[in-house]
């Protein structure tokens, strides 16, 4: 083929341009430390890197979320542990008050201590976090949830629980609503309560009560009625006798899957009511104790028995509250464990994502520099070849 000088130059220019362009691209990759700087250099990887980056950012956000939840749950846990301390103190006080050796003024002194505990519990229930949010107010975090009243306390929060996402699709509760923690506490033994009739004249004391067979208990209300000091009847809400028997001090009365221990000497006509547990606010329980201790009863006679029965019931309620606090703390601990577990998963995932991104987009310096070197060598060779061939012309030899 005839090759003209013009063609040779044109082809040389095209080749040099292509070489310059590839050197420029390699230089760009080296200075950006990326194996591609535009999507066209590796379209699939560019799309994947975008996906990975979004997932990574999300995962890092979830880790930040988890750290925030951890702080809040730790605050809740330590608050509840203080509530438990207060309740244990209260329990000791009530046990002390229930011993027969105290005078009314002694009890009033205990009542004022119980009142102090009530105030401390209120402060704890109105705990605020670092952002000034009430942690036991449900969603209504900006107003104080609990206010003391004559009967206990009112709750002005709601039952909401803020969820925080700690992994895609996995949320944990950032706390618990005050309603669940402080208001929804079962009375009695958690299933039913036993209360002495206020008109009782004997000294019948309520002892331990248990559910022996949950399948038989129908959730109804019963009355244990003494037809004689040594005979009792158990009546259901329709006034039908469901059980009866003879009573001795310390007898455990069983009916419909329930067991109620009574002691002392009930009088004829005395009665005890067995009713299903209801929810009672912790503050009502404490207020009730304060009120009973302040009622000024003497330590002897029927009214003392009423006091004892009342305080025994309160101890049951305190135990329920303590159990409630343990349950909530266990749940908080479970959430903290879940967060720790998720954080270790997230760390692995983030490392993995970073590795993937760096595999796709990271630059192999050795390879890039070798490539640049090769491209430079090629360019030099091309330039040299050009100058060498340009000198060739027949005209030079015609003299």
């Amino acid at each position: 083929m005839r090759i003209t000088q013009g063609t040779g130059q044109q082809q040389f220019l095209t080749a040099i341009n292509a070489l310059d362009e590839s050197i420029n691209q390699t230089q760009g990759q080296i200075s950006a430390n990326q194996s591609f700087t535009t999507a066209s250099q590796n379209p699939i990887a560019a799309g994947e890197v975008n996906n990975y980056n979004q997932t990574l950012a999300q995962s890092q956000q979830f880790s930040t979320n988890a750290t925030g939840v951890q702080a809040n749950l730790n605050t809740e846990d330590s608050t509840l542990s203080q509530v438990q301390n207060q309740l244990n103190s209260l329990r000791s006080l009530v046990l002390e008050a229930n011993s027969g050796t105290l005078t009314a003024s002694n009890r009033q002194a205990i009542a004022s201590q119980a009142q102090q505990i009530q105030n401390s519990l209120l402060t704890l229930a109105n705990t605020q976090n670092g952002n000034g949010e009430y942690i036991f107010a449900g969603y209504a975090v900006q107003s104080q949830p609990f206010t003391l009243t004559a009967a206990g306390a009112t709750y002005s929060g709601d039952s909401g629980v803020r969820q925080v996402e700690i992994a895609a699709g996995q949320t944990v509760a950032n706390g618990d609503s005050g309603d669940t923690v402080f208001n929804q506490i079962s009375t009695g033994n958690g299933t039913f309560t036993v209360a002495a009739n206020s008109a009782n004249t004997g000294t019948g004391l309520i002892g331990a009560s248990t559910v022996s067979d949950p399948t038989q208990y129908d959730g109804g209300t019963y009355t244990i009625k003494f037809t004689a000091p040594d005979t009792y009847q158990v009546l259901n809400s329709a006034n039908t006798v469901v059980s009866s028997g003879s009573y001795q001090d310390g007898t455990t009365i069983s009916f419909d899957g329930l067991q109620v221990a009574l002691s002392g000497a009930p009088a004829t006509g005395d009665s005890f009511t067995v009713a299903p547990s209801t929810n009672q606010s912790l503050f009502s329980t404490v207020q009730n104790i304060v009120n009973v201790l302040n009622s000024g009863v003497t330590t002897t006679g029927g009214s003392s028995t009423a006091l004892n029965n009342n305080l025994a019931g309160s101890i049951n309620n305190i135990d329920q509250a303590l159990a409630q606090m343990s349950d909530v703390r266990a749940s908080v601990g479970g959430r903290l464990n879940a967060i720790t577990a998720q954080q270790s998963v997230a760390t692995t995932q983030q490392t993995q994502l970073q590795t993937s991104i760096s595999n796709l987009q990271g630059l192999n310096y050795a390879q890039a520099i070798t490539q640049l070197d090769q491209q430079n060598t090629t360019l030099q060779a091309a330039l040299q070849a050009y100058t060498m061939t340009q000198g060739l012309s027949l005209f030079k030899y015609i003299q």
């Binding site: 799309g47 999300q58 969820q163 996402e165």
Partner: protein, 633 residues
Amino acid sequence: MSDIFQISVSALQAFQQAINVTSNNVANANTPGYDKESINLQEALPQSNGVATVGSGVAVEGISRAYSQTAANQNNASQASLGQLNALQSYSSQIDNLFGTTIGGLSTAVQGYYSAWQTVANDPTSTAARQALLNQAQSVASSFQNASGQLNALNGDINQQISTDVQQVNSISSAIATLNNQITQSTAQNGGQAPNELLDQRDQQVANLSKIVGVSTTTDSNGALNVFVGGQPLVLQGQTYQLKTVGNQYNASQLEIGTSASTATISSAITSGDLGGLLAARNQVVNPALSQLGQVATTLAQTANTQQAQGLDLHGALGTALFSTGSPLATASSLNSDNVTASATINSNGLGSLTADSYVITAKAGGTLSVSNASDGSSVSFTGAGTAANPLVVNGVSIVLSGTPAAGDQFLIQPTAQAASTIKSVLSDPTKVAAAGAVIATAGTSNTGSGQITSGTVLDGTNPNLLTPATITFTGANTYSINGGANQAYTAGSNIAANGWQVQISGTPAVGDTFSVASNTAGTGDNRNAIIAGDQQTTGVLNSGTISVTGALSGLITGLGSQAQQINTAQAAQTQVANQAQTSLQSTSGVNLDEEAASLLQWQQSYQAAAQALAIGNSLFTTLINSVNGTFT
């Protein structure tokens, strides 16, 4: 005796002319469009002396140029293809470089925006977190605007370049027409001998024209060249039919190519040359990118706004829109015979079927409509009739025509074309970010059963009764009624929905137990809505709920990147093809200086030999004269 002089002189003249031709070749070695010329020598007519015929020297029969129509056509066609790819590549690589691997920072901004929702979810009462979210929303909106602004600027460049190209085509076609006239005249005057210089010039003009727009040519018997573009004549003999720019029938700001030879535009027939590349860059690269970007912008804005409407802000009011986007473009063709207009809206539940395509609605005789895809003309299925009562719905977009269109009327619907350039963040008050769920469900305080109720989720933020307090009362062990309505069967854990909200009750509620669902006005610490809004980053929405905003962005990055890569590859390949065509053309028509040097030597020696012959003739003649002189003196 005079023969030797006559023969030598003819040779000297011929060789001198040959040397002239060779020198001319050397002189034009670098002239674009120059075809190497060579001299055609012929023996002069012999003379007979009655016994034998004796040669009478050499005659110059003509000077011809080394020209191959096939090679020239091939070269022109390959230059036209290369011109098209060069223009296309120039625009696709501009987008590639401007967008980089993050669409000019858009994907980073989107990432930051969704993280900001999570931060709000962590601390819903923090005004700082809410302000940060609004700032991120602003940054997302401006990233979309920047990216689409760059694309729109490219469309502006394309328009300008089209105008320049059309002017150039017109000036070249005028030049060809002028050359046609000169060539036909000159050929007639020189007894059919065409003037090589003019032919070269005309061929060069056609080659220049081919780079701008692919043409086809025919040659008339008188030597005139006719040039056609897109099936329409550009030059016929000495007459030109000028190209002109006309506004697109749907969008006057986008220039199309028209011709004075016809009323219809010929853009669709122009597929090669710079002009073809410009049109392709607009139709295949820039406009689709705008629509795809708009599709992501629409999705992001509409999902955010829907979620805002399902939650409560810090004032306890339902959230208002976070973003605004321009509505879909619906334009009537300027060729329509009446004034019927179209309007389009994206359906609230239309994101799942929303595409980045544009559609052409054509009115048929009898008042029926047909819908086709604007890019390839394929038929698209739709429902409805285009009236306000029964809008035409195509892929999640509702279209209403203002009247009954005449047969043949056409409307272009571009659902997402302007979304990215018009998206704005319209919320400026951080307290109006709707982080809280709209409703809160609570169990009655005097309930005796074990029934528990979930906080509640919002199904429809537009329900007017969403925030109206409602009470669910258990009328029996397994029945409940809402606000005293009809009894409904209760199954623990199943959905209970009314007024646009939904709750689940579990456990065993007792007869008479109540649950209330009311506005979550005090729930400033609630983050239910913010969590959902933040999760929209990866929640599938598009393509029947399978592609998320992130997925769509990654798809866009890969799509634009592969397109640029494909165009780069095609352009590189076409460069080789064009080089080969050029080399092949040059190998026929180009000037090789070594060859010319050899020719020069050859003609020089021949000239010297002819001169020598003349000298010998002279000496013979002198000898003769001298001997005659001696005889007579």
